[in-house]
């Protein structure tokens, strides 16, 4: 049997990672959470992930930088962006960076899961 899909969550608020991890693990995904982007990008060097869910606005490396880095180094990984500061400009910026999906917070868990499923079947 192939390995379970692996998902990385990057958000500087612990609750976001905690809730996402708990909900996604119930569906059989392997989930790792990070409070900032630097160690998360480091981790991508060592481990293969299928999806990266990242916050848009973070201290240090922000979500756009995560998106651009991931797309440059690991183009097969789908990136989903979530943000509390949703507006048209951020959405357009993210879309230009080839984001798979873009959600304003609060994110309905069902919708996030649906988006992940879609990203994975598209990838298969």
């Amino acid at each position: 049997m192939s390995r379970p899909y692996r998902i990385m969550i990057i958000d500087d608020e612990k609750i976001v990672g905690d809730m996402a991890k708990l909900s996604l693990e119930k569906d059989g995904y392997e989930v790792e959470t990070f409070l900032n982007a630097a160690p998360a990008l480091e981790r991508l060097k060592a481990e293969q992930f299928d999806i990266v869910v990242t916050d848009y606005k973070m201290r240090g490396i922000d979500g756009m930088e995560v998106l651009n880095t991931v797309k440059r180094l690991y183009p097969q990984i789908k990136v989903i962006m979530i943000t509390a500061f949703a507006n048209l400009d951020t959405a357009i910026e993210a879309l230009r960076g080839d984001v798979h999906d873009f959600f304003p917070k609060p994110v309905k868990i069902k919708e996030l899961k649906a988006s992940i499923r879609k990203a994975l079947t598209g990838a298969a």
């Binding site: 708990l22 609060p106 994110v107 868990i109 069902k110």
Partner: protein, 852 residues
């Protein structure tokens, strides 16, 4: 027979005219202005309700949210509430000033939670009596809970004071302990000696001079009386007992002599207990950061207890309708540590609690205060061991206290109490019970033939479920280090020490113990299937034996071998158990719950509003009442017209705009002219020829006499009655005061295309017959209104019913039925001769059969 009825009707019509002339002539206040204000309040009320509902949904666990969302949505909510109260205060002429203060208080609490840093208090010591939830950050969960109970009627709390978290911070800093704690956070999992290191440093630390003086002052004030009792020194960590129970995790030092040296030693002992393996493991399990916990310490005068115990205001093992009360001789330590076979009572939880089950235990041991401080476990005098500790009166007293406390703290509580020689009860502690849904842990169906039962135990389940693993029987607390992952813990007593292994335990069986012990509450928190008080599990199982345990209602069945397929709860952790989630969601406690439900109670006041929802409820009740009263007092203008209906209802109408289509100056209107949506629907129903009976139904002799007396009251020229049969309408609004015979009805409703605006408020009272028949009529109306979706309250013969948030089409349908009901119920009393007839007439009405 029809003469009295006609006389009455014409009397009322005349009365209505007279009253109306009087009010319309004397007062020309502008009802339109009042109504406009009402609309402004209503709009804000609805916006506030929507915002609350939205926040509740977003924080329900179905959404991933962050603090930015909470901050933004709360700011918006607060802005709406501030505007609402300012408009409401204009509507009610500032009669409910307390509301503004309540909003301020709630706002303060919520912002504290959002920012997590409210203004730090500089108090080093706080009297227990002034410890409150609003000072949670200063006094810790346990003392905040206890202090807040002191104000409740019928509840006594001990005297004492709290050494605050500020003192704790100062103490840690003064002794250079902060850096040591940081190191501990990094290495405790690999280096168990680290705990010892920090604890030793704490024990040898000195109180900062200011802290020392503050404690000495409080101690002197406490012991400056005839009773120079010893003290109980108790932990009260922040985070503790508010969210997670931390039951038994930290030290409590009992019977401390009331001198500074002993108290300081005990204080440091309690502080040191924060830095031990148990709470750190516990924190790791629930995902909180042990370094963030701060310790306040309660110093409480010991009660000279002849007996003590624990009350659970709801049985956590799946019977929330029952309370559990355990009692034993001496100090309560024996009960909470499960060292004694305590008396156990099961009490049905209701306004008048009643005993369901009583089991008197063999209390061969008891814990008593030692002469020079501390406690000892001694043999109970032989004549006491098997005697009941409390009598029935005390039992009911305990049950009632538990109800009071649960109502105050809004969730089931685990209450420790002590009883002195005179039988007086003092509450020592209250904390929420971790009541979890047992469904996840429900035992799966076990094929009965394929398993070998090796043992059954009767006992008390602390948590039901099935677990499998190797038996582990510890002989000393240290031997727990060898506990195998996934093992089944079998022990003599229940002990909160076991929390160390709880994350790895599959099930727990103890020979002795109570479902109200610390360990039992931890088992529920960690979801470990557990049976306590099962007699001789340690004697009948052996170390290393592979078993599967199924804990059920009344005991446990032990099967041979490990059958993992039968275990586990499949569901895993739920969002609700995420520490961060609960921490963030905590603020909803100040927003969502509705406590103020009964407008008939004396405590339906601004001061009683504990949440934003309460404020909203209060505003809604009073804004409608404001309109009703204004209408009743004849606050009106001159645009009144007489309504001509096919039935003699005698209604005068005041149109606020769009309610009646009439040329200027017209004084009468027919039904066809009514353009008010709710009023039109109502009168169409009311004038239904089937529902409006013109024949007088025969009254029985007693009814007639009662009726005649009422008739005299109503028709006497001096009688003060509210304006009869007055409708105030707009296109979307109706306020109707109606008097048919002896029945007074008030109906207030709003019916617009936006369902969130819509409400019907209905009040029905009066009646010519005796109270039995009147209450039958009340029940009949209640039956019918409930069928339409109303929420009803009956007080004597008065019914109040409400329905809101319904679409206009549905609402006009309901109003039509309510109109029929008003007509139908005019003479209903007279036929409701038996209780059975209530159901019969309800059914016929609902079936459209209006015959009496």
């Amino acid at each position: 027979m029809s003469r009295p009825a006609l006389g009455l009707r014409s009397g009322i019509i005349e009365l209505g005219r007279r009253l109306f002339r009087k009010v319309a002539g004397n007062r020309s206040c502008d009802f339109r202005a009042l109504f406009g204000q009402f609309r402004r309040v209503l709009d804000l009320h609805n916006t506030a309700a929507e915002r609350i509902a939205d926040m509740g949904e977003k924080l329900s666990g179905e959404y991933i949210f962050d603090i930015v969302y909470i901050r933004q949505s709360y700011n918006e909510l607060h802005r709406v509430f501030a505007a609402l109260l300012s408009q409401f205060s204009l509507l009610t002429k500032d009669r409910y000033r307390g509301l503004g203060r309540r909003l301020e208080g709630i706002d303060h609490e919520v912002r504290r939670l959002i920012d997590d840093n409210g203004e730090p208090s500089t108090d080093l010591v706080v009297p227990l009596a002034s410890a409150r939830m609003s000072r949670l950050q200063d006094v810790g969960g346990k003392m905040a809970n206890l202090g807040s109970l002191g104000n409740l009627a019928g509840i006594t709390i001990p005297q004492g004071f709290v050494i605050t978290t500020r003192s704790f911070d100062d103490f840690m800093q003064h002794n250079g302990l902060t850096a040591q704690v940081d190191r501990l956070i990094d290495d405790w999992e690999t280096n168990t000696a680290s705990f010892e290191r920090v604890q030793t440093a704490i024990r040898s630390g000195a109180l900062p001079p200011a802290v020392h003086d503050a404690i000495a002052g409080a101690l002197q004030a406490l012991t400056n009386g005839p009773h120079q009792g010893f003290l109980a020194v108790r932990s009260s960590a922040v985070g503790e007992d508010g969210e997670f129970s931390f039951a038994g995790q930290f030290e409590t030092v009992l019977n401390v002599p009331p001198d500074m040296q002993s108290l300081t030693t005990a204080y440091k002992e309690v502080v040191a207990s924060l830095f031990s393996a148990r709470p750190f493991h516990y924190c790791k399990e629930i995902g909180c950061n042990a370094a963030e916990i701060r310790m306040a310490v309660g110093c409480i005068r010991m009660i000279d207890a002849t007996a003590s115990g624990v009350t659970y205001s709801a049985d956590p093992s799946g019977h929330p309708e029952d309370m559990l009360i355990n009692a034993a001789w001496g100090l309560g330590k024996a009960v909470v540590e499960g060292q004694v076979d305590a008396d156990a009572y099961r009490v049905a939880k209701s306004l008048r609690p009643s005993l369901r089950e009583r089991r008197i235990g063999a209390k061969t041991k008891m814990v008593i205060p030692a002469l020079r401080g501390g406690t000892v476990l001694v043999d109970t005098p032989a004549d006491l061991a098997c005697r009941a500790v409390i009598d029935d009166r005390t039992l009911m007293n305990l049950a009632n206290q538990a109800l009071t406390i649960e109502e105050h703290l809004r969730q089931p509580q685990d209450i420790e109490w002590a009883m002195d020689r005179s039988g007086h009860i003092t509450v020592l502690q209250a904390r929420p019970i971790a009541v979890r849904s047992e469904s996840g842990a429900a035992t799966r169906n076990i094929p009965p033939d394929s398993l070998v039962v090796i043992q059954t135990f009767s006992g008390i389940p602390a948590r039901k479920g099935t677990g499998a693993g190797r038996v582990f029987i510890p002989d000393t607390p240290d031997s727990l280090d060898a506990f195998p992952k996934g093992g089944v813990l079998v022990a003599k007593n229940d002990s909160s020490q076991f929390v160390r292994v709880m994350p790895y335990a599959s099930a727990i069986l103890t020979d002795q113990g109570t479902p109200t012990s610390h360990m039992a509450s931890l088992c529920r928190e960690f979801r470990v299937p557990t049976l306590v008080n099962c007699g001789n599990a340690t004697g009948s199982l052996r170390n290393g034996q592979e078993i599967t345990v199924r804990v059920e209602e009344s005991g446990a069945v032990v099967y041979e071998g490990i059958h993992r397929e039968l275990t586990g709860d499949g569901e895993g952790k739920s969002i609700d158990e995420l520490y961060e989630f609960r921490r963030k969601k905590y603020l909803l406690r100040h927003i969502l719950p509705l406590n103020l439900v009964d407008p008939f109670r004396d405590d339906f006041t601004p001061e009683a509003c504990r949440t934003l929802h309460d404020i909203l409820r209060f505003v809604h009740e009073k804004m409608v009442i404001e309109l009703v009263e204004a209408a009743e007092q004849g606050l009106t203008d001159r645009s009144a017209v007489h309504l001509e209906l096919p039935v003699p209802a005698g209604i005068v109408v005041i149109d606020l705009g769009g309610g009646i289509g009439l040329p200027e100056g017209a004084k009468t209107a027919t039904m066809e002219r009514v353009t008010s949506v709710p009023f039109r629907a109502l009168i169409e129903g009311m004038t239904d020829p089937g529902a409006w009976h013109t024949d007088m139904v025969a009254l029985q002799a007693g009814d007639l006499i009662a009726g005649m007396m009422k008739l005299a009251d109503i028709t006497a020229p001096s009688a003060r009655v509210p304006t009869a049969n007055l409708a105030i309408v707009s296109h979307e609004y109706l306020n109707l005061s109606l008097k048919f015979g002896y029945h007074f009805t008030m109906l207030d409703c709003y019916c617009s295309p936006d369902r969130t605006n819509n409400h019907i408020y209905f009040r029905f009272s009066g009646g010519a017959t005796d109270i039995t028949k009147r209450s039958r009529r009340a029940r009949l109306i209640e039956n019918i209104l409930k069928t339409y979706g109303f929420i009803c309250q009956i007080q004597g013969a008065v019914i109040t019913a409400r329905i809101s948030n319904i679409g206009d089409v549905e609402m006009t349908g309901i109003l039509d039925r309510v109109g029929r009901l008003l007509a139908y119920s005019r003479q209903l009393d007279a036929v409701l001769h038996t209780d059975e007839s209530v159901a019969r007439y309800s059914r016929s009405f609902l079936n459209g059969d209006y015959r009496l």
